[in-house]
Amino acid sequence: MLLYTLKRLLLTIPTLIGVAVLVFFMLRVVPGDIVEVKLRGDGGNVTQEVVEQERKRLGLDRPLLVQFGDYMLGLAKFDLGISMWTERPVIEEIMIRLELSLEVAILATIFATIISIPLGTLAALYRNTWIDYVVRIITIGGLSIPSFWFGMIIMLTLLALFNWLPPITFTPIYVDPVANLSQLIWPALAVGYRYCAVTARMIRSSLLEVLAEDYIRTARAKGVYEKLVVSRHALRNALLPAITVMGLEFAFLIGGLVVTEQVFNLNGIGQLFVQSVSRNDFMLIQGMVILIACFYVVINLVVDLLYAVFDPRIRYGN
């Protein structure tokens, strides 16, 4: 298993190189660059000379291939380069935000797991009864209500009922857990609702499928308690497809919370993404795309490994 994991990690290298190449050239195909945004963005009147000078300073005047070679060389040394806007190392820019985004994603996952498993299970066990219908309404709500809107409702509710708003500045959890959680639990809730809805629906349908399997009939024929039939015999099999969905959803949460972050005034990866794109900050965009790609690849690997934990038929390596 360890060997397999190592090999899988090695195999991510070509994927990441591909991502790097793609994003590098795609960005350069689009007209315009950071200098224009920086100097002329606000309608400022700057001479061509100054623009050229700035380009030269940032190294944008060099031939494309040279820039590319430079960039790839940097990557080989785990150097993502320097942000063209703030002129701080890209990795530093990302890390500040990643802590926050990662925490929101993890909180949302915990929330979704705790809620979706019982919800999906209940819906499956009481299929086509009022319980199932209630769960269906809840989950369809989660799928159709945008997280940012739900976030706004949460904020307004907090304000209206308790006359309280979560703190605005980010405090790391190891500094002050209460302050940290009282800020991040709300966005996690807002995005977790959707997350939980997707997973609960997945669990419901896969549990229904599993409950119709022959081995469930065998378990009942053995006289196993109904509770055990569900928890020991059915759920373990039914959770497999849910794990896949959760993995993908988690990876999405890392970089995809653009609007929700805005609502809660969080300085996360999503915001940084929007900023860097609107500023044409090539180096930062590249760094972030590679980072997100990394997350997807690693999470996929984790999902595959989890499969092996849950399903003995899957064994990697030997």
């Binding site: 009939r217 065998t218 024929a221 109904e226 015999h233």
Partner: protein, 696 residues
């Protein structure tokens, strides 16, 4: 101590049967109406007795068994009757009380060992579960008992097996595990629903023998639900025959087999080809289909298919006693029992002259090999190390025009692969395939196009081999269109109608979709599709194994009939020895990719010259209790080895009763021992001279 108490309580209750099903009615609510799945069945099972419930699919035999366990699907409900276990009505118990009965007093063994065990739980856990729950054993006690059970059901190295998962076990092994689970709490009754249907014939014999012995030793009563009359003859004390939700005949095995009182029972026995009777005539068949259970006829339910139906048969009928314990639900049972009415089913014309056979071979296969590469078990992630499965390993045969060549063997023997390679669906690894005079082994797709018309195929599963979104007419017309044989639409319709009537369907059925047809009708559509291109060779891959007994006979007769009329040649692939014997002129027996024996049909069944053929014949149950009881217990040991890692030397030596040292080292050549009789056994000469394998 415990045993004594048990003994006493048993003695006290001996007047009450262990299980009594009384006038049981079960209905299913479906979107298309109420299905009366079980209507008024009654039977009893005494302690230590083996009772069989026999019938075709949809007759209600499995539903009645699940009702005893109270494991019916939600749409099913019991609308009447009682199920008494030692006098206690199971239908009155609360869910919790019933749960305590399941697995403790009654256990059930299901048909599909491949899907009946939980794939994510270790075997040991699955065996220990009822012990922990019902007998409140500790983990250690349960583990010890589980080991004992594994030993009892013939699984060696139980300790290691307990930690394994179902996918690491073969089908036969899994069914043994299922039996171990069933036995765990020493139940009074085990219900086995088609326990061996999914298994190979040699494994089937092992499992049935095991169940019979265990039930005898431990005094457990056994209800066997099956469609296989051979099994019934060997193992059952008493038999209940079901048809269309009712029991239509019940009695001892001797009653049922030697003097059946109901025409249906009679017909069932005649429509299966038998190994113990001379062959040469067509099978008698029960024409038609069972009635729709949403609105069954008021009178005798079999009347519509019965050749001896009279006016009275439209009246309702109960079971009529005809002997000590023998009852039949037939208006004319007295005439039948008195011998004044001889039950005969139509069988079409007897096969008087075999279709004209020329000596010219239509298909010649020489040294055919088909190897599949699979990733080696221990191979590294990046390595390309492959293990080779020799699915077909040096197989040669020829089929003459108008002949039927049977290809028999158990699962994994390569018979289907031979068919696929002949059809050029798979590329041969080595060897040659000659069709007529052309070598087609490496024909390209375009070169094959013309030839494909001449070689057609009939598949095993009539349910999945027809496109559900196309009408029957479209399915049959497709090849006509693709090959431009009948370009005009109108003419094509006519041709489809003609083909449908040729296979015994009606032209108006062209409008229907496959799901609107029964299994037998679908298989006829498959045959019509194959015939559309007027082929000269048809590869039949298990064409009847998915069909019910009475339908099997119809399809076999149809195939024979078509062969005579159209001069077809068949390569008939099957696992059922009796069916192959019935239809084939010559037979090849395969095992693990190799030919074991090849001979004329009568020769190979009467005087097999290979111990494997002999073992297969011994393992096949024969529907006659007298013959069955006289036969020695089947002794073929062990499992079929993995084709990934076949034994050295003769591939059969690990299971062979007469293997010598030479068999372990040298692979025997296929040699001709008598004209037309080939065998691949080092000791074939000795068998021929009668020195070994007495009684062969």
């Amino acid at each position: 101590m415990e045993a004594e108490v048990l003994e006493k309580s048993r003695a006290a209750q001996s007047s009450v049967p262990l299980l009594a099903v009384e006038d049981l009615h079960v209905r299913f609510e479906t979107s298309r109406g109420t299905v009366r799945a079980v209507e008024g069945i009654s039977y009893s099972v005494n302690r230590g007795e083996v009772v069989a419930v026999v019938g075709e699919s949809g007759c209600g035999k499995s539903v009645s068994a699940l009702t005893i366990m109270r494991l019916l699907a939600k749409s099913g409900r019991v609308t009447g009757g009682r199920i008494l276990l030692e006098g206690r009505n199971l239908l009155d118990l609360s869910d919790e009380e019933m749960r305590a009965v399941r697995g403790h007093e009654i256990s059930m063994i299901f048909q599909e060992p491949m899907t009946s065990l939980n794939p994510v739980l270790p075997i040991g856990m699955q065996i220990m579960e009822p012990l922990l729950i019902h007998l409140k054993m500790t983990e250690d006690q349960a583990q010890a008992r589980a080991l004992e059970l594994m030993h009892q059901v013939g699984i060696t190295d139980g300790e290691r097996r307990l930690a394994q998962y179902p996918h690491q076990l073969s089908g036969g092994m899994r069914q043994r595990v299922m039996i171990a689970i069933g036995l765990a709490c020493k139940p009074k009754l085990i219900i086995a629903d088609e326990p061996t249907t999914a298994l190979d014939v040699t494994i089937q014999a092992q499992i049935l023998e095991l169940m019979k012995n265990l039930s005898r030793e431990l005094g457990i009563a056994l209800v066997i639900i099956t469609h296989n009359l051979g099994i019934v003859a060997r193992y059952a004390d008493r038999v209940n025959v079901m048809y269309a939700a009712q029991i239509i005949e019940k009695g001892t095995a001797d009653d049922i087999f030697l003097q059946p009182g109901h025409p249906y029972t009679n017909g069932l026995m005649r429509s299966v080809p038998r190994l113990d009777e001379p062959r040469g005539s067509k099978l008698q068949t029960i024409e038609g289909l069972p009635p729709d259970l949403r609105m069954p006829p008021e009178g005798c339910r079999f009347a519509a298919r019965c050749p001896h139906r009279i006016e009275k048969c439209a009246l309702p009928i109960e079971l009529i006693p005809v002997g000590d314990s023998h009852e039949a639900r037939c208006h004319r049972v007295d005439e039948i029992m008195a011998g004044t009415l001889k039950v005969e089913f139509p069988s079409g014309s007897a096969v008087t002259s075999q279709a004209k056979k020329s000596d010219k071979p239509i298909l010649e296969v020489a040294h055919l090999k088909k190897y599949f590469g699979v990733k080696a078990a221990g191979a590294g992630f990046f390595s390309n190390e492959m293990a080779t499965v020799r699915a077909v390993d040096d197989v040669s045969f020829a089929i003459a025009e108008g002949e039927t060549l049977g290809l028999v063997g158990e699962s994994g023997c390569g018979k289907t692969t031979v068919g696929r390679v002949v059809l050029r669906l798979d590329e041969a690894t080595d060897g040659t395939i000659k069709f007529g005079t052309t070598d087609v082994t490496h024909h390209s797709g375009r070169e094959m196009r013309g030839l494909r018309r001449k070689i057609q195929v009939i598949f095993q599963d009539p349910y999945s081999s027809l496109n559900p979104r196309m009408t029957v007419g479209e399915i049959i017309a497709e090849p006509l269109k693709v090959y431009g044989i009948v370009p005009e639409k109108k003419a094509r319709l006519d041709r489809v109608g003609e083909l449908l009537s040729q296979v015994g369907l009606f032209p108006y059925m062209a409008e229907r979709y496959p799901h609107e047809l029964s299994g037998g009708q679908r298989q006829r559509v498959g045959i019509a599709r194959a015939l559309a291109l007027e082929p000269s060779l048809i590869v039949c891959d298990e064409p009847v194994s998915a069909l019910d007994v009475s339908i099997q006979g119809q399809v076999i007769n149809l195939l024979e009939d078509l062969q005579q009329r159209l001069g077809l040649t068949y390569l008939f692939i099957a696992h059922d020895l009796a069916v192959v014997r019935h239809i084939s002129d010559r037979v090849i027996v395969m095992y693990l990719g190799k030919v074991m024996e090849l001979a004329d049909r009568d020769e190979i069944y009467a005087r097999p010259l290979h111990p494997y053929t002999k073992a297969l014949l011994d393992a096949a149950p024969i529907p006659d209790p007298k013959i069955e009881r006289a036969r020695a217990p089947r002794a073929l040991r062990g499992e079929i080895p993995s084709p990934l890692n076949p034994p050295t030397g003769c591939v059969f030596h690990t299971r062979c009763p007469i293997a010598l040292d030479v068999c372990k080292q040298q692979s025997p050549a296929v040699r001709e021992l008598k004209p037309g009789h080939l065998s691949a056994c080092h000791r074939a000469e000795e068998i021929l001279e009668g020195k070994v394998l007495q009684g062969a």
